[in-house]
């Protein structure tokens, strides 16, 4: 029975990883990444590694996506600067 759980979790992880890569909008990617974090935590629990699962849970499903979200917010805050190129804020050249 454990093997079945492991296989399902493995496939879930592989699917989540693929989805995280194919979602090219970082905001969407952050959500998929936190799903990936949880799926990995489940897989690690089935592999009898609760310590690693806890770490992965804390880092993968909370801290990393949060940092990505904050970065996206910083990067997108300027109006009309979705993903295009506009004037750099650096020194004038």
């Amino acid at each position: 029975m454990t093997d079945v759980l492991i296989v399902v979790a493995l496939l879930l992880v592989a699917g989540a990883a693929t989805a995280a890569v194919l979602n090219r909008d970082p905001m969407r990617q952050a959500l998929v990444l936190s799903f990936l974090g949880l799926a990995l935590a489940l897989l690690f629990t089935f592999l009898q590694a609760p310590d690693v699962a806890l770490s992965q849970l804390a880092v993968g499903s909370a801290v990393t996506p949060l940092m990505i979200l904050l970065t996206v917010r910083k990067v997108r805050r300027r109006p009309g600067s979705g993903d295009g190129v506009d004037k750099p804020a650096g020194r004038e050249r």
Partner: protein, 144 residues
């Protein structure tokens, strides 16, 4: 099939339910994705509780405890950044039906003691987290 296999087979149910949730997170609208995120932590909590029992390891419940704390926190943070907190009956009913249906049999199997108190605590946290983060009317509140 031994009893431990039974618990693990039960864990398979919420685990498989995560598959459509992944689809929803990856390809849904912002509201859908948030519901998906909410459901993920709820279902993962249930999987972890059932698996801990299936492996006969009460110490694995710590993982579920952390999920029940970080899950709703994550959802609320996302709600803040995506500016949505959709009203989701699906989440509410999954929590209100799924959590007791999982936790109560587990309590029976564990018997009274510290482990049972922890189980009940995790159950309460999962329900409270899911209900608050899927609450009706919360929508206007967090968007500010």
């Amino acid at each position: 099939m031994s009893t431990s296999d039974g618990w693990l087979a039960a864990a398979l149910v919420p685990l498989l339910a995560l598959v459509p949730v992944l689809w929803r997170i990856a390809y849904g609208s912002p509201g859908d994705r948030l519901i998906g995120q909410n459901l993920t932590s709820l279902l993962a909590g249930l999987v972890l509780l059932l698996a801990a029992q299936g492996f006969h390891r009460t110490s694995y419940n710590d993982v579920a405890l952390v999920v029940s704390v970080l899950g709703p926190t994550g959802t609320l943070i996302y709600a803040r950044f995506l500016d949505v907190l959709p009203d989701s009956r699906l989440v509410r009913w999954t929590a209100l039906v799924g959590v007791p249906a999982t936790v109560l049999p587990l309590c029976v199997a564990t018997g009274p003691g510290r482990a049972m108190a922890k189980l009940l605590l995790i159950g309460v946290l999962l329900i409270a987290g899911s209900v608050v983060t899927s609450g009706r009317g919360a929508r206007e509140g967090v968007t500010a």
